[in-house]
């Protein structure tokens, strides 16, 4: 790993901030390099590359935070910038009644990188185009009675390099290569209308990830299933029925209704005017039960090859698995050093920045519902009449993470313990409390899905995984699209 910045430059910034009276100074160099190929059906739309590189400086002055960022690596520019940051934070401090403070931590002094069997920088544009064409040809061949008028494929390589130094001793040098593939498909049938699907693959590592994901096979097999849904999908039953959610839907549910509401900054209201607050109140931590024994949700940034992988956060704190909900109990929020201080605990290493120009804020890494022991067949064997929702397109949740909706895409009736005919657009609306209290069983098939999670102002999109097993829920009313 060859660093693209001289660390002494960052130390000069930190020292200057301290001289100017800041209690805490953090200087972060970050370089994000991306190459992508976008295709439409069997044609290339564009080949793109980008590089975002610069230094973000954060200071704590008289209990107020200031952040400043620039592309420049000129020492003079950086010293001027840290002076501005200190000066602005100092001016704002007169408006603060309660000073911001950071928790004291054992900070890292490490270098780490993700192993690549075949480096992503060697994955050339020609190979990317070839893969996109293979995906299109396989998907097109998979459907028989419907048309595939649009398949947009996006293949992206992202190399992220960071160096974080802080005035209290952190030194974290990291390199994380990430690969992402998406396919946006439209299936069209003259009488049955259209169906749209977004299928994504993402992780950290090298080109070998493609072999593991096998996107050509997965996408083409899925087209066969979606063709059936479009041609012969029926309306969901009108009576209340048992609902089984697939890993993809479960992953999204736990991201939205366990991960987000357990972000400590959201609990404290820091994102109130943007991403919102949380149904979780500080006094709920360790005291309030949101679900039953199956409701254990973990966020773990250290999962190998994950999309949300990191070992140390952007404040220098070592990452570890966090049990957000533990057997139904609201257990441990995601913390940075500021929220940890407010809650009088240690940070659990959840502070992340999208790029050099973004302040580090509390974020998820890889969030999942803990799986069980049984097979999928065992999970549904006692369901006389139900609906299995394997994937989704539309979803949303309110700003306290309570009232949520998922509209199924690939879905099936369950009859007498077996999957039966496809179901079209089943609508599920429930509250967080209902979901975690009505889990009747979970199978052992833990799967993960990638996403770019948005939060902050300016909005920061960071890579995450979300996942879970298949989950059986109590009976509920399944809706239809208006």
């Amino acid at each position: 790993m060859k660093l693209q910045v001289d660390p002494t430059l960052l130390y000069r910034v930190v020292d200057r901030g301290r001289e100017l009276g800041a209690q805490y100074v953090e200087a972060r160099f970050q370089n994000d390099y991306r190459v992508s190929v976008t295709t439409r059906n069997n044609k290339v739309l564009a080949v793109s590359s980008s590089e975002s590189s610069g230094i973000g400086i954060r200071v704590l002055v008289n209990g107020a935070l200031g952040f400043a960022a620039t592309n420049s690596t000129s020492l003079a520019d950086l010293l001027e910038l840290v002076e501005h940051a200190v000066s602005q934070a100092s001016a704002m401090s007169r408006l603060r009644k309660r000073p911001i403070e950071f928790s004291e931590e054992n900070l890292g002094n490490v270098k780490y990188s993700v192993n690549e069997k075949k480096r992503l920088t060697d994955f050339n544009v020609e190979e990317m185009i070839k893969l996109a064409m293979e995906i299109y040809n396989a998907a097109k061949s998979a459907v028989k009675e419907v048309k595939l008028p649009f398949l947009i494929t996006d293949i992206r390589v992202h190399i992220q390099e960071k160096l974080v130094v802080t005035s209290d001793g952190a030194y974290i040098e990291s390199r994380i290569p990430r690969l992402y593939i998406s396919a946006l498909l439209t299936l069209l049938h003259p009488q049955r209308g259209t169906l749209q699907r977004s299928r994504e693959f993402g992780g950290s590592g090298g080109v070998e990830l493609i072999e593991k994901w096998d996107p050509v096979r997965v996408i083409s097999e899925e087209q066969v299933a979606l063709e059936r849904v479009l041609i012969s999908g029926v309306e969901p039953p009108r009576e209340k029925v048992a609902v089984v959610l697939g890993s993809e839907v479960v992953g999204l549910v736990v991201h939205e209704s366990a991960g987000h509401p357990m972000e400590a900054d959201r609990i404290l209201g820091r994102e109130a005017s943007q991403a919102g607050e949380s149904y979780v109140k500080p006094e709920y931590i360790g005291n309030y039960r949101i679900g039953n024994k199956y409701a254990t949700v973990v966020d773990d940034p250290t999962l190998l090859n994950s999309y949300g992988f990191y070992l140390y956060d952007d404040e220098g704190v070592k990452a570890r698995p966090r049990y957000l909900y533990k057997e139904g109990l609201i257990n441990e929020p995601l913390h940075n050093r500021h929220t940890a201080r407010v809650f009088n605990v240690k940070s659990n290493g959840a502070s992340r920045s999208m790029d050099y120009a973004s302040e580090p804020i509390v974020r998820m890494g890889n969030t999942y519902l803990v799986p069980g022991e049984m097979s999928f067949e065992e999970l549904i064997e006692d369901v006389d009449l139900g609906v299995y929702v394997k994937s989704y397109m539309e979803w949303n949740i309110d700003d306290i993470r309570w009232n949520q909706r998922y509209v199924g895409l690939e879905a099936y009736m369950i009859r007498n313990g077996e999957l039966a005919e496809p179901v079209r657009n089943p609508v599920l609306e429930f509250t967080t409390g209902w979901f975690y209290s009505n889990i009747l069983g979970v199978d052992r098939n833990l799967e993960f899905y990638p996403g770019i999670c948005g939060k902050g102002e300016p909005s920061q999109g960071v890579p995450v995984w979300f996942g879970g097993p298949n989950v059986k829920l109590s009976k509920m009313q399944v809706g239809v699209l208006a």
Partner: protein
């Protein structure tokens, strides 16, 4: 744009023109200050000084888009050498069309406010004013954002086009809290306005304190009033779907329409308004050097125009509308015409229904069919017999854009320039009355 950046942009264009058939270089220099407020106190002050360089390179119908935000712009040249080496391995782009021929540079003027630079040095006064005004309504606490920017933009192409312009941006939005109830308002402009700060604070506080009643709510079809915040959010999706690339990729409900088709109620018109220099999306030339112009997307209920760059226009046998994006044509600022209902008569005229003040998390099940839902946040009020009955809590609008636009019954005279976290395209919008709109709320 200052000398060194302009010189660099010219130098890159000239050097790359020797190796590529066409070169366009877009340089955007931003200086920005943002103050965030949390529980009525500043949470952080953020400053940025950034240079963003974008290149569109074409050779034998092959197209490369490069974006660099880096301390060493010269590194761009290193990457372009790599491109040359693999040029023949890349197939021709479906979205290649020649850059437009030379045109006169006609930048917008009057879009820069010197006062914004002054307040970048003294932002605490603005924060204080916003907090004090909001709390004066009886609100208990305040969260929000004030952002000030200076943006310089230069475009040079190998067709001889060279133009640059400067504008400023001012964004303020606030959420007021009164116990369990909240209100929200937002404003965006190229010019700083103290009266706008006070108005944002006053309106957010007003909605947070409008009533303390909670009422039961049954899902079903309702007549609704959508505030300019909601209108701005929803019609941003509609405007993006008017991009010709959305149509070409199947992600547009307009894929089934052609200009002249009736898609909305006759009272409704939606314009792309880049020449309105008071809206912060303003610009005089697009990314291909085509002079921008205001244009209807929907006018008097008729779908009127897709948004094009040179390539999508060529593919659809028409002309660029001045909305390039090198790959994706996009709207700049939106202007939705007003109607004849006075804001203070909206609730009385609705008689019975629901008033939605703010929303977020709009998602689509199917872009081709325009099937969407969105969730209310802040105030959503049940209206009974022309009066506010109480809060219905967080509800969801679940509909199709086609149905929503056909069911527009009225628009307010008053319009508001809104721009915030959930309205990313600066939009001038009225209050909107829509009939027979499906509203849902979980029953479990």
């Amino acid at each position: 744009m200052n000398g060194p950046v302009l010189d660099l942009t010219r130098d890159i264009t000239e050097r790359l023109s020797r190796q590529f058939d066409e070169v366009a270089v877009l340089a955007i220099k931003r200086r920005e200050l943002m103050m965030k407020i949390w529980n009525s106190e500043p949470s952080i002050t953020q400053m940025w000084s950034k240079l963003n360089l974008q290149l569109r390179l074409a050779k034998s119908g092959r197209l490369w888009i490069l974006t660099y935000e880096t301390h060493e712009p010269e590194v761009l040249l290193k990457y372009t050498e790599e491109i040359i080496k693999v040029a023949d391995k890349v197939t021709e782009s479906e979205l290649y069309a020649p850059l437009p021929d030379y045109a006169l540079c006609k930048p917008v003027s009057g879009a820069f406010d010197q006062n914004i630079e002054f307040y970048m040095s003294y932002p605490d006064k603005l924060v204080e004013s916003l907090v004090v005004e909001t709390l004066s309504t009886g609100a208990g606490r305040v969260s929000g954002t004030i952002a000030l920017s200076r943006v310089e933009r230069v475009l040079i192409t190998s067709k001889g086009y060279e133009c640059n312009e400067v504008k400023s941006e001012f964004k303020v939005y606030v959420r007021a809290f009164k116990d369990e109830f909240t209100g929200h308002w937002a404003h965006g402009s190229t010019h700083i306005s103290h009266s706008a700060i006070r108005e944002v604070g006053r309106r957010a506080g007003m909605y947070a304190t409008i009533t303390r009643n909670r009422v039961d709510f049954a899902p079903g079809e309702y007549n609704v009033i959508l505030s300019p915040l909601v209108v701005g959010n929803l019609f941003e999706y509609v405007a993006h779907m008017a991009s010709a690339l959305s149509v070409l990729t199947g992600f547009s409900m307009f894929a089934k329409h052609k200009p002249g088709d009736s898609v909305a109620a006759e009272c409704f018109s939606l314009y792309d308004a880049p020449r309105d220099t008071s809206l912060p999306g303003t610009l005089g030339f697009d990314d291909e050097g085509v002079e921008t112009r205001n244009k209807p997307i929907i006018e008097n209920g008729m779908f009127t125009s897709f948004l094009h760059n040179a390539a999508t226009a060529s593919k659809m046998s028409t002309k660029s509308t001045g909305n390039a994006g090198w790959i994706r044509p996009r709207p700049w600022s939106l202007d939705i015409t007003g109607g004849d209902v006075r804001e203070d008569e909206l609730i009385r005229e609705l008689r019975n229904g629901v008033f939605v003040v703010n929303n977020w998390y709009t998602r689509l099940q199917n872009y081709y069919e325009g099937v969407f839902s969105t969730v209310s946040r802040d105030t959503a009020l049940l209206i009974k017999n022309g009066e506010v009955a109480g809060h219905v809590g967080r509800i969801r609008i679940a509909s199709t854009f086609n149905k929503l636009m056909k069911n527009i019954q009225g628009l307010s005279r008053e319009r508001f320039d809104v721009w915030w976290w959930e309205v990313r395209i600066p939009t001038r919008a009225p209050f909107m009355v829509v009939s027979n709109t499906q509203l849902t709320k979980p029953e479990v």
